[in-house]
């Protein structure tokens, strides 16, 4: 094409300008600029893609596609398993929505990036205060890769590469990520079974040998149970291994911190700190450690220094660990991280402070324990494990996990996941997770308990009713609930809202 004709609102050069530019370059067409690509390698047909859309058409398309999903604005969310429906204060969106942050690049040019750099320095500090560790990096991708990076880091710190010990109660997907990352490594992964919901410290000790780099314990663990993390850390140390503790940041409003439990490396999923669930990402991988391991850390670190005038400023620090300097000898291959999500977490923690963090933890904990009591009052439903828990617990369901999930769904509640679906383990066949955050109300918990107590007449267990429309129970929130959870406001609460309704939405 001599001159571009298609109009796109993101492009500038008019045909006249294009002509001028081509004259300056000394060629007669844009096509000529591409003649460095061998003719035989050029695509000689248009891409087979849907045609372009105006902003209005795109908006209509996307809203229609979004309407085919049934999410927490339709059904109240008791789902857990590593992602939680915690409340996000509007100030978080206000700051993360500033395009000076979200359209900036990695702060390599410190003089033009002090806003990002200082915010990340504050993030690192807040994470240290939250975890009781000495130093935090500026973020990793998410909770699973944070565990993997911690494992590699522990190998470097201990110079042991033979074995890594994981507890069976670690998030199954985190374990799978570690397995993938260790793919070509000659390293034995030993899984300590947790049949009673947690690991016995003695069993952990038995698994540690003299080539073990680290023990990874998640606390609260995937089943919601609290592990004897302090004792397990001590076992690791006794045998020269590091203790890696994977934590839920919200739990630290009331629970002892990884640093208090003897962790050498603390890792976690930071989604709960002000980031929406958005179907699993982008989230926030937190990694913090003891001071002596700082030079083995993966990812970016922000440091405080002074400028030429002696004024305080911030820079990317200890970059000699990173791939753009050290290449194959870098501590990790990570480059792009989760900067904007770290900014969200920074604002979230700044707003909540010690009182807010405690309150969210306390609310989640108390509602979860009320829910555990109410749900296990129902016939055929009991707690799978007799262990202390924080905001999430595992139910053992006589009628099977899927049947109970279905009963809840029909009444407008999402609970789960069914553990078998996640872990693949037979022992998890009739188990499911229930997570309760500060956003759930006593009324919702009571209604959920009623819903799962017995099959609903006329609704088959597999959830596919006669006319082929998926059973799609949707419950409207009360004004009060909606206000508390920032979701769309529904009709005033009344008992009829708990009844099963099939979808009023468009189905295809």
């Amino acid at each position: 094409m001599l001159l571009s004709e298609v109009r796109l609102s993101y492009l500038f050069n008019t045909p006249d300008e294009q002509r001028e530019m081509l004259e300056t370059i000394g060629v007669d067409s844009i096509e000529t600029l591409f003649d460095q690509i061998p003719e035989s390698l050029q695509l000689k047909r248009p891409l087979d893609m849907p045609p372009k859309l105006s902003e209005l058409e795109l908006e209509q398309l996307v809203r229609e596609l979004a309407s085919r999903n049934v999410g927490p604005s339709d059904r109240s969310c008791f789902l857990g398993g590593g992602v939680y429906d915690h409340f996000i204060p509007s100030a978080v969106d206000a700051i993360a929505g500033r395009s000076e942050f979200y359209t900036a690049y990695t702060p390599y040019q410190a003089e033009a990036s002090q806003g990002s750099l200082q915010t990340f320095f504050e993030y690192q500090t807040l994470i240290c205060q939250l975890t009781g560790m000495d130093v935090s990096n500026a973020s990793l991708y998410e909770g699973g890769t944070a565990v993997s990076e911690a494992v590699f880091m522990a190998m470097r710190c201990t110079k042991r590469h033979g074995r890594v010990v994981l507890l069976g109660s670690l998030h199954p997907e985190y374990r799978q990520v570690v397995e993938t990352y260790l793919g070509r490594m000659d390293c034995e992964l030993v899984i300590v079974p947790t049949p009673g919901g947690t690991a016995a410290p003695d069993a952990v000790e038995e698994a540690i040998d003299d080539q073990t780099a680290c023990v990874v314990v998640q606390h609260p663990n995937f089943y919601g149970c609290l592990e004897e993390a302090e004792q397990i850390s001590a076992m690791a140390h006794k045998h020269g291994a590091l203790s890696v503790v994977s934590f839920d940041p919200i739990s630290l409003g009331i629970l002892k911190r990884p640093g208090d439990l003897g962790a050498d490396i603390a890792v976690g999923e930071g989604q709960s700190l002000g980031t929406p669930m958005q179907y699993g990402g982008p989230f926030l991988g937190i990694l913090a450690c003891k001071q002596k391991f700082v030079r083995q850390m993966p990812g970016r670190l922000i440091g405080q220094t002074t400028d030429r005038n002696g004024d305080r400023c911030f820079v990317l620090n200890l970059q000699a660990r990173e791939q753009h300097i050290r290449r194959e000898k870098a501590t990790s291959n990570i480059c792009t991280n989760q900067g904007l999500i770290a900014i969200r977490a920074t604002v979230f923690m700044s707003l909540l402070g010690p009182a807010g963090m405690r309150q969210v933890a306390e609310l989640s904990c108390s509602k979860a324990h009320y829910a555990a009591q109410r749900l296990t009052e129902q016939d055929g439903i009991e707690l799978a494990f007799d262990q202390p828990f924080f905001k999430e617990f595992t139910l053992q369901c006589r009628d099977g996990a899927e049947a109970v999930i279905q009963r809840a769904k029909v009444a407008g509640f999402d609970i789960g996941p069914a553990l078998r679906r996640v872990s693949g383990s037979e022992s998890d066949e009739d188990r499911l997770l229930v997570a309760v955050t500060e956003c759930r109300s006593r009324e919702e918990i009571d209604a959920l308990a009623d819903a799962i107590s017995a099959p609903v007449d006329g609704v088959p267990v597999d959830g596919v009713p006669v006319d082929g429309v998926p059973v799609d129970g949707k419950r409207q929130m009360s004004q009060q609930e909606a206000a508390a959870c920032g979701s769309s406001v529904g009709a005033p609460h009344d008992a009829t809202l708990h009844s099963a309704r099939s979808s009023a939405r468009k189905t295809t």
Binding site: S99, F152, R184, G280, P282, R308, G339, I343, L351
Partner: protein, 488 residues
């Protein structure tokens, strides 16, 4: 008008008793944590976080944001990073209920709209790549590299082949060798070939039955299309190896040339670069990978499949999958923005944007080449790498001096000192979303800077919120966390 409060640390704003968030009283007061959880697990002290209220938090971070240069405020010609305009429609649409609030453990039937979007994203990325099988899981380009190398590893293992070597040119991004090492391969770096291109004779020396993958960015990091890419691919395929295309520079060739057509077997995209997911001050990104059919079974999962009979979309893990590279589906929020972009532009629009990106780069190169020579290539693709070596030799002016002085004139600096093969490298990527007037102003400014007194440049920038930081002091005495002692 500078607000000095903005540079205060958050921790200096803390006053005991303040809080920036309020929550309702518990409606389950009969279950306090002290009654639910044994004391041995409970913390006996409040978290030592700062205590700040909402107005202070907002003013603090709003003022901090103004200390940044960003695409929305400044021209940002950072080479290899594709700092193009981030459309506002993406931000609004990625935040609609029904997308932003979906929980990953919801049932597939309740996610049909989301899964359709991700399925179509896979299809479109496969078509643009000429590599049909796509996994959207990797969280960033570097993770895409790692995932693809593990895919290659599983494929070779399946065939009973012992392949240990990953080869790359010395102009490669640092992530290439770092990913190869992480995947457990031996790294072999080639020397500098003529004009920055791969030297086929040197490459041949390393090719044998132990060669696993050749990783190459194309267009390469000098902004040039490797003229012998087809021959390179053939050499690799002849010894049973695979070719990996680092897709960082896809912005140059969308709808014009496809990695699968020029011999690539695997590639990653940087959705945050090419498809304008915003860079977010360093992330999040998304690094989907596309591979040939015979590698599809090894992809990280889950991927989205479409059952034509029922019309339903569902998640599947490929038969011989390497496993997960992260929890859950992927960096969905960024993938959504990429999807919106692809649907906005369509195939013709993508080709057009690449044409404008290449036109802008060649125009700016032409405007600058007399003062900042470009050692390699007569013309460029979407970016070019100039050298300040002559200025360094004659007047002691470094690439860094020019970069820093540009900040004073309101331009973000180009990438400097990368790739390593060009001395005093200045790597400029204008992108397609800049006007001729901006490019002209940038070129004029560079001219002006080069005419300035060398001392003025050594001490630049002079007008930014801070002047050049003392990196040596930062590294010698790392302060990575605030403590009250920091303020002393």
């Amino acid at each position: 008008m500078r607000n000095e409060q903005a540079t205060q640390l958050l921790f200096d704003l803390s006053v005991p008793g303040r809080c920036g968030a309020e929550y309702p009283e518990s409606d389950c007061p009969e279950f306090p944590s002290t009654a639910c959880i044994p004391a041995e697990f409970l913390s006996d002290a409040p978290l030592p976080l700062p205590e700040v209220n909402e107005p202070d938090v907002i003013r603090h971070f709003t003022n901090l944001s103004t200390l940044n240069m960003s695409v929305d405020t400044h021209y940002y010609p950072l080479g290899s990073c594709t700092m193009k305009y981030n459309p506002k429609r993406h931000e609004r649409l990625a935040s609609v209920p029904g997308l932003v609030d979906l929980h990953p453990w919801q049932s597939e039937e309740s996610l049909q709209g989301m899964l359709q979007i991700q399925f179509e994203m896979q299809q479109m990325l496969g078509e643009i790549a000429g590599l049909p099988a796509v996994s959207l899981q990797p969280a960033a380009g570097a993770q895409g590299e790692l995932a693809a190398l593990l895919v290659a590893s599983a494929y070779f293992q399946d065939r009973g082949e012992d392949r240990t070597k990953v080869i790359f040119p010395n102009s490669a991004h640092g992530t290439n060798p770092a990913s190869a090492a992480l995947a457990g391969f031996d790294c072999i770096q080639l020397g500098a070939g003529k004009n920055g291109f791969v030297d086929l004779e040197e490459l041949k020396e390393h090719l044998d039955e132990h060669t696993a993958v050749f990783m190459i960015t194309n267009p390469n990091t000098l902004g040039l299309f490797e003229p012998e890419i087809a021959e390179i691919s053939k050499l690799l395929h002849d010894v049973g190896g695979l070719v990996y295309i680092d897709g960082a520079n896809m912005n140059a060739i969308l709808g014009i040339a496809r990695p699968g057509d020029f011999g690539g077997d695997m590639m990653h995209y940087n959705v945050h670069k090419t498809f304008t997911g915003p860079h977010g001050a360093g992330g999040p990104g998304a690094g989907p990978i596309a591979v040939r059919d015979f590698l599809a079974d090894y992809l990280p999962g889950p991927v989205v499949a479409h059952d034509e009979e029922s019309g339903q979309y569902k998640l599947e893990t490929p038969a011989k999958s390497i496993g997960r590279v992260r929890s859950f589906f992927g960096n969905v929020g960024i993938l959504l923005r990429g999807y919106f972009y692809l649907r906005t532009l369509g195939g013709d629009g993508l080709k057009e944007l690449s044409e404008h990106a290449v036109l802008n780069a060649n125009y700016l190169k032409e405007k600058l080449k007399d003062i900042l020579p470009v050692p390699n290539g007569e013309r460029c693709m979407h970016e070019f790498v100039a050298s300040a070596q002559h200025l360094q030799k004659e007047r002691g002016i470094s690439a860094m001096d020019i970069a820093k002085r540009l900040l004073d004139y309101g331009f973000h600096a180009p990438t400097v000192y990368f790739p390593l093969v060009v001395p005093e490298a200045i790597m400029v990527e204008p992108t397609e979303t800049e006007s001729k007037a901006t490019l002209d102003a940038f070129a004029e400014t560079i001219k002006k800077i080069i005419a300035e007194d060398a001392e003025l440049l050594h001490t630049a920038p002079h007008t930014t919120p801070v002047s050049r930081p003392n990196d040596v002091q930062a590294a010698r005495n790392p302060i990575l966390c605030w403590s009250p002692a920091c303020d002393a």
